[in-house]
Symmetry: none
Amino acid sequence: MGVTTKTGSGAGKGFAIGVDYGTNSVRALVVDVSNGREIASSVFEFPSGEAGILLDKRDPNLARQHPKDYLDGFDASVRGAVKQAKKVRGFSVDRVVGIGIDATGSTPIPVDKNGTALAMLPGFKKDLAAHVWLWKDHTSHAEAAEITRKAAKVKDQYLDKCGGIYSSEWYWSKILHCKRTSPKVFKAAYGWVEQADFIPGYATGNMAPDTMVRGICAAGHKGLYHEKWGGLPSKRFLKSLDPDGGDGGGLVDLRDRYAMPARSSDQRAGGLCEAVAKKVGLPVGIPVAVGLIDAHAGAVGAGVKPGTLVKAMGTSTCDMMVEPMGSGLQDIPGLCGIVPGSILPGMFGLEAGQSAVGDIFNWFVGQLTPGQYGTGGEAHVALTKEAAKLKPGASGLVALDWNNGNRTVLVDPLLTGLIVGQTLHTSAAEVYRALVEATAFGALAIINRLEEYDVPVKQVINCGGIAEKNPMVMQIYADVCNRPMKISRSSQTCALGAAIFGAVVGGAYKTTEAAQKKMTGVKAKVYKPIRANVRVYAELFKVYMQLHDAFGDARKNAGEMSSIMKALIEIRNEARGGGS
Amino acid sequence: MGVTTKTGSGAGKGFAIGVDYGTNSVRALVVDVSNGREIASSVFEFPSGEAGILLDKRDPNLARQHPKDYLDGFDASVRGAVKQAKKVRGFSVDRVVGIGIDATGSTPIPVDKNGTALAMLPGFKKDLAAHVWLWKDHTSHAEAAEITRKAAKVKDQYLDKCGGIYSSEWYWSKILHCKRTSPKVFKAAYGWVEQADFIPGYATGNMAPDTMVRGICAAGHKGLYHEKWGGLPSKRFLKSLDPDGGDGGGLVDLRDRYAMPARSSDQRAGGLCEAVAKKVGLPVGIPVAVGLIDAHAGAVGAGVKPGTLVKAMGTSTCDMMVEPMGSGLQDIPGLCGIVPGSILPGMFGLEAGQSAVGDIFNWFVGQLTPGQYGTGGEAHVALTKEAAKLKPGASGLVALDWNNGNRTVLVDPLLTGLIVGQTLHTSAAEVYRALVEATAFGALAIINRLEEYDVPVKQVINCGGIAEKNPMVMQIYADVCNRPMKISRSSQTCALGAAIFGAVVGGAYKTTEAAQKKMTGVKAKVYKPIRANVRVYAELFKVYMQLHDAFGDARKNAGEMSSIMKALIEIRNEARGGGS
């Protein structure tokens, strides 16, 4: 590709660029590698669909994106950030040592032999199955259940590393669902590429599925990839899901076209290719790191290390920890993933999370908030102001935070929300606070699960919009979890984490930990637990866990409550799918 | 009292007046007894307190009224209605055959030896305990629990006729609470008179507690009065609640000053006395019927008969049936009351109900409805319009209708609301519909309970504002209950029912049933069950009953769910009562 390899401007100096793909937009951030100072950034909002998401009215589970938004977004955001950085003293484009990239996941994209996304080809432009299958697409729950069932039967114990249950949000569920419901798309797809690999492929000019560099993070957490069994799941297992193949028409063929091994993000995916370099205004050949999932990059940018839980709080949360290899870490049931090198190279990356946090608050503001509170952000502020005055327990409400299913502990997308305790006086602010508390209870359930399996949580660092903007939420989390809540210094931890990997592949630091030490930190303000609140929340958490176990965990409780949410979903699906 | 007894103008002819006391106002209605035509009416809003209710900021359970409002209201409303009727061809005051009166209950009033309400005497004008204890006053919950506990231990089985639980809304709870918290008022009260007896006493000039005529309806449903044990509860039982007395200072003394037997409303309380006749512009001596509770009068006005369930649907509902004596009717657990003659003379009157129906919809509109729907009545219309488009089951939601506790089947005020099935797309209209459906499921639970105890429900007649104004609600009730829903022809069923008793005591008809046949009817529009909806609602009702039994019925299910609502109420009370 005719690139000159750049080696960076010397130890701990120069600038790195982090490119962070979120659900609705992409952000490029230019960072001073000597101290983590963020000197410039630029955001590109995805133009397609609703805030970048393609929906289908008939199926609330469907969430797709347009791949072109990603490519346009890379060009525009990086170009914009570089342009802005040029105004800052000391910056010049040849002092950019490297680029790191993070993206949502599991967000697989069907591509042709050249790596071109099918949705960009004639004949597929209107076919939603040919577009990007966004992480929060839940159309594939039946396939997820099948994979879980079949994986449980094979000796490889694929599921031990991903909490015992394969998710409808993940790679193979989505591909299998496509095979069964859109065979034309499946047939046309030479490969399926995670968004976190698709973008580095684009930046380095190496997009073909069988040559592109794959990241261990998405592969390990979402694709059942593990060194222990030689990479992707065995052909025998894939055949058990889909008997086709060998001729290019089955799941097994995808395995053949997948360049192993998958790598950690302190490694180079390649150098910035000429075509893209020109578009973004950077020199050709700048090292581009292997991509990883946004939350994992965020953990790095927030300063994750053994004993530190990083909570990335946005529309959903991702809860991340690392454990040194050789620490005797067990498999942890209900944890989304345990993958060597997925966060910090050389350590196990542990990923947990809540399927909806900010999304629940946004839902409440969008659908159930009276006019007097205003709308959107204004309503969040007004509701928070009123809710902050309420004492813990005073509303008599407890909610389950499952409006988008449960990702960790129960790992079940077919769960739904619940709220109990309403009277004729229950106010919007009380419900809002109960929803915030529900997400805090969900957070504590995750911490408890980690500690039950000997992963001590000594420190919690929060990052993301909610952590920065809403002191009430943070205080409730401190009180519910009975732990101080710290906030990451950077408000762009994902982009910063990506930039850290840019700095590492650019040679500015020898290790990711060394880069973290210089480039990350926490804010002075720490939310400390208030004793009286801790006591009340301990009582309310008992109620939360009673509901959690009864409605969520069919295995522990043979009680009939555990069938209710599924029965309602079945009735709902039939009602929506049925005749007039 | 120097009155001439009137005997009415002949069989099935003339006019009757029904006087209906509601919570905020009193209405007088002039009815043509030959066909039930309502020719004139007049409403008097109670001027005291907030919409007629005296409140105490420190105690949300307190709800009192001023007795003078009732007397002024009788005069003004009857005078107004008569004045209006005079403009109608064929009406003249000497063609008025009788007056019937209904009132709220249990709404006891402390009075002196002459029957003058204490609140109208010097020294008591500012004492809320000396005022009327309105039906919805809940200050006496501790006494209610004590009466329930003690009644359960005695052989008389007082509670078998009132669902097994004595309510804080009822006669003896309130009097006992007054004795314990306002001994001065208790001592000054020669008697305690139900509002439904107080007004006929006023109209007939016979107000003294030991001579006035008492109605079986309030006495039987609220005062533990039953022929089986000789009227009011035994002195021994009353002594167990209050050891004082014999000297005029205890509960037992009230029993001595109570003129038994209590009577049904086809009997005369007396003739219209001179003083009142003059004020209202009617001839002296017009027969006045024994008073009864508003909902029971409403059942009569809606055409109740064996096999017909009358549902009075307002902020709460009252569900009423009658069963012929000698039909072998058993006690029905969870039913508010079974009293001979309380609705139709010579039949058992059965009273059930839901603690909140319209109140739940109003709560949702007041607290959780976005601005785009408007407010108040406008919001109900807009939400209904959208909710009516939804298919049964399509929201995936099920709710419990317990925001104000559960009055029938569970008889437990310490239950609260619950909603399950929310996603990130759940809309206000979906929640609104789910709340309507919840009340319909609650209605079906009552019907099922009646039928389980061999009281067949062959026809349902609805009355009240919701039944008249909201076709969606009625269609959902038809679909959920799988029964046609009829609507009472009159929109003033309570006042019409009272007028029917006026016609009977005035001699226009020999029996209440004969009067009903001529004076009541249903509207042409009948809501018929839609087969496809019935099928879906049968599934959803199963879910409702799972939740109902698990969260509500500690007796059937030893499961921990049944403790959750009570635990939350305890935590709430502590949080609200505790220090900052």
